[in-house]
Amino acid sequence: MDVQAFSDQIADALSDVNRRVQRSLVVVHNGRQGAGAGVVWRQDGYIVTNHHVVAEHRGPFTRRAAASSHSVTLPDGRDLPARVIAKEPELDLALLQIDAQGLAPALVADSRGLQVGQMVLAVGHPWGQVGVVTAGIVSGLGSAETGQPPRKVPIIRSDVVLAPGNSGGPLVNAAGGVVGINTMIVGGDLGVAIPSHMVEAFVERALRGAGEVAV
């Protein structure tokens, strides 16, 4: 086997995937120190991120007034204010809306077809560095108990290295499809992601709910 050629092909494929993913990757600011990641879910301004990225902090050292102002930095550099239109803390998911059209939505893959051993990439902003890619495999398809009262939530475990700033960012497969949203609801520095089919259902619920309010 020509290792150099193989390595080049892998690198080409990886940069294709990365280019695709970065087009739908945003930085989510919450008025506090640190930032999270988010994924453009629809071209008309809907963005998925982690609930804990936009949650109000009740610690003694945070100004609550500041905590309620959210903004999103798009891949083209624009900074836009964002509204939280839905949140589900037990899934650690939040849906944001910005006033923008024609965004590049993420290619969403069906997480129900995932297999342990498949390659996955996490893209986010670990420790504030924007657009960092880390690679690994699907380590396990299981569940975690979150929320009060506890509820069993399906999760994807991976051996991808994550750090603060990866929260809310996409976990993508080798074809660049989003299979999950990285989160830190459970377990250390090892990757846990909410499967994309759960995210799709959340977004659907949220938009139906938002529609009813508007009527």
Binding site: V17, L107, G117
Partner: protein, 303 residues
């Protein structure tokens, strides 16, 4: 961006296949108080696992990949290499396939475990180092060990380290070295498993000598007919021991056993494991500077 197969998706699918193949022979082992650990189906009715995760001798169960739970008994243990073999109540497991080639540093390696009933778990890395012989913290001597950078998740001990085709290259254990996850190479592990399944324990040879490594002067190396800069000087020979019966004397320098050069105590221990117990073997010594071969019938070490 298309969904056409590319080298990345091909690699991804190959790894998932390897996990599925090896996962079919990776079982859950319930034999300790804390969460369960993993094991490898070594034959239809035999499971190889880590000795340290088998904390009890009764009430052991094994859960197969299809979810069926089987009772198991301890067929044999070797704390020295941290391996144990469990016998299932019936032959229902599909056996793992060992890799035909020796592992190489740098090759892809997948670490597998099944510590829960939620399915197989895996992490990716490479073979980081091949070392040995090493004395283990549990009083044994491991001829060879593998180190990997694949994450050892909780409960992975006893599970397989596999190559990119899903063939076993080692047995994972966190019980041999403090804070490090090692794998026992499949050749060695299968050999020990064979012995455990047959005899229940690993037979370790006994000579009955105390020794220390010494430098062999160049004139004596010449007499030996090979370049060997050290050997083991006998400073004690136990009474009624195999060494005494064979005629070894204080002052002899052991330089080879069964034709294999012996330069330190680890090599001496390694030469006394397995089938040599109870058999006469040629021990080459330097006596008065001259090479001499003495037949010694190796005894068995009682733990």
């Amino acid at each position: 961006m298309s969904n056409e197969p590319n080298p990345l998706t091909a690699l991804s699918e190959a790894m998932a296949e390897a996990v599925a193949k090896a996962g079919a022979a990776t079982v859950m082992v319930n034999a300790r108080r804390r969460f369960p650990a993993s094991g490898i189906a070594y034959a239809a009715d035999l499971v190889l696992t880590a000795d340290h995760v088998v904390e009890r001798d009764d009430d052991i169960s094994v859960v197969l990949p299809d979810g069926s739970q089987l009772k198991a008994t301890v067929a044999g243990r070797d704390p020295g290499s941290d391996l144990a073999v469990l016998r299932l109540e019936r032959g229902a497991a599909s056996a793992a396939q060992p890799a035909p080639q020796d592992p190489r540093v740098g090759q892809l390696a997948l670490s597998l475990g099944r510590p829960t009933e939620e399915g197989i778990q895996a992490s990716l890395g490479i073979v980081s180092a091949i070392g040995g012989p090493v004395r283990t913290g549990r009083g044994g001597l491991l001829d060879r060990y593998l180190r990997t950078d694949a994450i050892p998740y909780p409960g992975f001990s006893g599970g397989p380290l596999v190559d990119s085709a899903g063939r076993v290259i080692g047995v994972n254990t966190s019980g041999l070295a403090r804070g490090a996850s090692l794998a026992i190479p499949v050749g060695l592990a299968w050999q020990i498993a064979d012995t455990l399944a047959k005899h229940g324990h690993v037979r370790r040879g006994f000579l009955g000598v105390r020794s220390q490594p010494v430098t062999i002067p160049s004139t004596q190396q010449k007499a030996l007919g090979r370049e060997q800069s050290s050997g083991l000087l006998l400073v004690g020979v136990e009474e009624n021991s195999p060494a005494e019966a064979g005629g070894l004397l204080v002052g002899d320098i052991i330089v080879a056993i069964s034709g294999q050069p012996v330069t330190d105590a680890d090599q001496l221990l390694a030469s006394l494991v397995g089938d040599v117990v109870g058999k006469p073997v040629p021990v080459q010594v330097l006596r008065g500077g001259q090479p001499t071969v003495i037949q010694v019938t190796i005894g068995e070490r009682k733990e």
